[in-house]
Structures are given as structure tokens and as C-alpha cells.
Symmetry: C2
Amino acid sequence: MNLSVSKMSLFSAINKVSKAVPSKSNLSNADCILLDAAGDELRLVANNLELAIECIIPATVLEEGKICLESKSFMEIIRKITDDDIKISTDKNYGTTIKYGSNHMDLMGKETDTFNDIPKFDYKDHLDISEYSLKEVIRQTIFSTSENEANKTLSGELFEIKDGILRVVSLDGQRVSIRRIELNDDSLNKKIIVPGRSLNELFKILGGETEKNVTLHFTDNHLIVCFGNTTLVTRLIDGDFFNIDNVLTKDYETKVTINKKELYESVDRSTLFASDGDKRAIVLSMKDSVMELRMKSTKGSMEENIEIEKEGSDLKIGFNPKFLMDALHVIDDERIRLYFVSPKSPCFIRDDADSYTYMILPVNLGAEG
Amino acid sequence: MNLSVSKMSLFSAINKVSKAVPSKSNLSNADCILLDAAGDELRLVANNLELAIECIIPATVLEEGKICLESKSFMEIIRKITDDDIKISTDKNYGTTIKYGSNHMDLMGKETDTFNDIPKFDYKDHLDISEYSLKEVIRQTIFSTSENEANKTLSGELFEIKDGILRVVSLDGQRVSIRRIELNDDSLNKKIIVPGRSLNELFKILGGETEKNVTLHFTDNHLIVCFGNTTLVTRLIDGDFFNIDNVLTKDYETKVTINKKELYESVDRSTLFASDGDKRAIVLSMKDSVMELRMKSTKGSMEENIEIEKEGSDLKIGFNPKFLMDALHVIDDERIRLYFVSPKSPCFIRDDADSYTYMILPVNLGAEG
């Protein structure tokens, strides 16, 4: 291999593909990035077998070839080079020379034969969506995927495409997050479970621009995400996702409209007293036009009031403050609506257009209540 | 106690004094900040017995009194309050209520009788210096204090005031850092050793403005630093500081003038190969008008060249790259001068005005050299 490439585009590509380098592996070249120079392109690949990322950048290729370079060192080397023109060449024993200006570094590469290159598929179905929309639905739901790997399906997110709507759902034992976006195309019908870890990495490397599109391709076992010069392939999670429609109800006894920022800041302050094992509940008492928020622990107590508009009965209910904050944090509306049935039934936060629904189970207040 | 105070000035004061709260202590109220309301002021104090910090802010005091509040909780509470007007009141059992708008928090304070208040002294000698100059000399020397507590004097910095010059010296086993600044006043004659830890905290809370002055007061065992509404008292370290003048020589065999940024970036890149226990040396070879920099380890190697102006003999010498970088990092000059005697003698980096001198011991290259 012998090529010349721009530092900026090389560093950006390494930064993206490195998200798929496995943290632990027994394979000798698994912690590597594959460099594959051919034609007038340099292709970079990393693959942890659940997730693979490929990035293709323009290069002046004097001699085609492949090499595996240890990801962390390679990224640090390219980061610290200040010249924009970088030349990379290899010899038959995987010795690799990186030249910049009149200076150079030598390091040992590894063989490429056993490297798991990114899998290639014959694409059939696909969906186009803006980078912005995809990045937003991930941000707005990823926090309630379950970290408990006992139930594999809950560590992923449901992507359900039907009747021109993409619905993304995540849930753990205490809460459900749902986002719905309208698509330009209503011909596709799909229901897949995407690993939360892969979505987290996708979130980091997606640009998030509204004018740029991402293409999603589907196979039986993989989701392929193509954007710009980057391709991300993730395995899907087998199994059936929890049937969420059974727990979604639009009935309520109490409906509260409240300023989101005031509620968020008040719940945030309550966490000052929640440190005894994170189990302290914040108690919300809705009465007439006021929500009273109370938190009490061995450290002290907080008591605040926020003006609300209320329909229906008065109600007193307790929540884990973190779960309320996670949902409030990703809602952009200035005023939000909370729906309650009883102190022992889940609370729903949703907008009238059903573009988001957050369901949170209450904490049993017991004698405290 | 019953008072009203601005959130901004209270938070800024807590932030400053909290730097002197001990991380570990057996005293029940040692992890606290003392609040002392009297006249039209609120005085905040923290004291870890080596270092004490006091901050005085304006307050509307309805009832004078004192209370001790646990530092971390108190800081977090005040940080998270968004109203600017904060009211603090206490009852006889140390119960403390913090009111903001129509909301409030309650927490338990502690008794103030056993709290170590900031010590008071009759000041005699003093020195005025700008916040900027004091902050700069700390930044430019603090990195070479020794963390090895076996030799207590080396964990501090020498502040030597003589003939209208302040000289600040720090050293560990491998290097010496010296900064000299001219004072407006040449009457004072002092030689004290200030704990590095206290200087680190002082550095964090000093504003660093050129127009604002700091007053240093001296007692036999303490240095008192007064600036704005803040007073910092640190114990001094007993003992004699290493007599540095014996090792400072102006003789040299090789004098090199070089671009500081180029040298810094090249040494920085060499650290990519220095990870085997931080012991790898960067080898500098000065020959004619070029400095060649080489680093080699099991991970790979680097070879770079930088143009220099050289007086005297050619020379090849090895250094711990971190020590070179620490010194280069705090020198603001674009071009710097390095003075060498031999591959086994220390290197000096100094300007012609002697405002700074950095001495670094070389690494024995042995067979490698």
C-alpha cells in the first residue's frame, strides 16, 4: 500500500469507524481498523460483530493494498499530526510508515486475512429519512432501554414502520418512551429490534442535519444505515417486542398542563435529597390550580409549588425523580400535558398530535403518602 | 440567623471557600462551611488546618447568628436555585431553612462552637502584587513541585523576596522551575516555603486580572493572601529550601534557538511511543542547523527534524518527554533558547532577561545513545 490522503478527512473517518472497534476480543486484529486502498479511494472498516462501520474517503493511491492498524494508536497519531498531507505506505512484513512534511513515524501493522470486513448484502427494502429526524428519535428514546441483559429484547429499541409512520419504542421495567414520525413513503411495513448499543454509536456519528438524508436498508437479520461516505451495519435482536398497545390508554381521571422548564428544575432540585440509594420518591400533589412537589430524606426536605391548569380530580402520586427528568429532558414543548388515572397507575406525558408518549410507573408511597 | 442574600454572590463565595474544606476529617463539622451573619455582611469560612479561606459578601441581616452547613450539599442546593433572592434562617436546633420565591428547602446544620474559624493575626510586613502576576507565577512553576511527601520542603514552592525581586522556585528530583518578577517595592526581605496544595487552590480562585491587586501578608508560620472580598491563610512549610544557586550555571557548550511551538508539538507526538511505563527518552541530536528528534519503543518509532540556530558543538542528549513538555507548555515566548553542557549535564531553558529558568536533567542513553 502507498497512498496520500488529507489529514482532516482521514481523522474524521477514523473517529467514525473507531466506534465499532470491540473493547475486548481474543482475535489478534480485532482491535484494529482495516485500511483498504483501491482505485482512488481509501476504505476504513471496524467491526465488533454486532456493529460494523465503514467509511470511504478520497485518496491518491500509488499502490493498492490492505493493512490492519491498532485503532487507538492510529487515531492518536493522526490526531497529533499538524500537516494536512499524510502519506501511508506498508512493506511486506506489515511495517507501516506514516509521513508528514519531512518527518515520519513507523509502526507495526497486522495481517488482514482474518479481519472481519463489513458484510455486504443485496438490498431490497429501504427507507429515506433525514439525519436530523433519525438522530432526534434516538436521543428522545434511548435513555429508557434496559441495561439488564437478561431480557435481550429490552436492551434494544423497536423500530416499527407501518402506514407511513415510523414508531420508535424503548422500555425498561419502570417506563416506556415512544416517538412517532411521519414518513414520505407509506409502502413499507417493517418491525425490527435494533440493539441500543448500536443506536448509541449511530447517534454519535450522525451529523444531524435536516437537509441530509440517511437511507435505511433492511435484511432479515441486519439494519444497514447509509449516510454520506459512511455505512453502518448492525445485527438485529431476535424475538418479539413487548406489545405496548395493551398498556397505552387514553382514559384519565386527572389532566394537568404545566410549564415544562419549571417542572424540570423543581424535580432536579428534589434530587438534592434523593441520594439515599436513589430510592426516594418525589411526591406530586395536584390540587385546584397548584402542583405541590415534596421530597424528604434524612438529609433534609424540599417543598415547592408550581401553577398548573387541571381538569378532573385532585391527586397525590410519587415518582422516581430521575425517570421524570429523563422524559422531561427530551421534550421540546414549553407547556406539557400529564395524564393520571390513580396513584397506583402509570402517568402519561403526551402531546395532542401523539408525536411523543412517555409512560412512567409511580412509586408506592405506602404510609408516607 | 435570618438573612437575605443574592444567589450569585453566595454561590461565588461558596465556590471559593469550598476549596479549603478537608476531604477527610474526624471532626463532625470539618466538612462544613461556617456561615456567620453580622452587621450587613455574611462571612463564609472553610478550614482544613493547612489552608483556610474566608469570603465576605453583603447581606440583609434580620437576625445575627452562625451555622455550619455541610459543604457539598449546600453548594449543590445554591447552584440549583434559579431565583436570585435567597433567604436563610435557622432555629435553635440547627434546623436551617432556605427560601427562594414561594418555595423552600429544610436541612440540618451543625453547631459552630468547635468549628476552626480562620485564624486572625496582627499583620506587619506586606507586599502588593497584581492578581495576574501571582496567578501566572503559580501556573508557570507549580507543575514541578514534588508529590513525594518524604521531603516536605519539595512539596512546596520557595517564595524569595529580595532587592525588589520576587523569585518563585519549585523542584523535584529531575528538574527545577524558576520565575522572577520585579516588584514595585524593594524594602522587603523574605524567604518562605508555601505548600503546593495551597498554591493550587489559590490558583483556582484568583481572578487573574492585571488591574486588580493582591496583598500578601507574612507571619512567622503563615502566608495571608487578601484579594477582593476573599482572605486565604496558608501555613508555611518549615525547613531550608534546597540551595538552587549552586546548580545554576551560565556556562554552556551548545546553545540552540528554536521555535517553541514546533518543538512542543514534536515532543508531544513522541509521547505516542512513550507508553511503556513512561520511561522512554526522546533523543535530541543537534547538528549544524537541524535538531533531529527520535523516539523508539516496542510500539514503533518517530523521526522528525526541526530547523535551529546553533552556537557551539554538536550534541546528542535524551529527555523524559513529559518534563520537556511541562516546561515548554508554560513558556509564552515564540522562540526559545536551550543551553547544554554535555549529554550528562542538565539542560537550561531561559530567556535573556532571566524572567524564567527551567532546568531539566537528561536521561542516560546508555548503549542506545
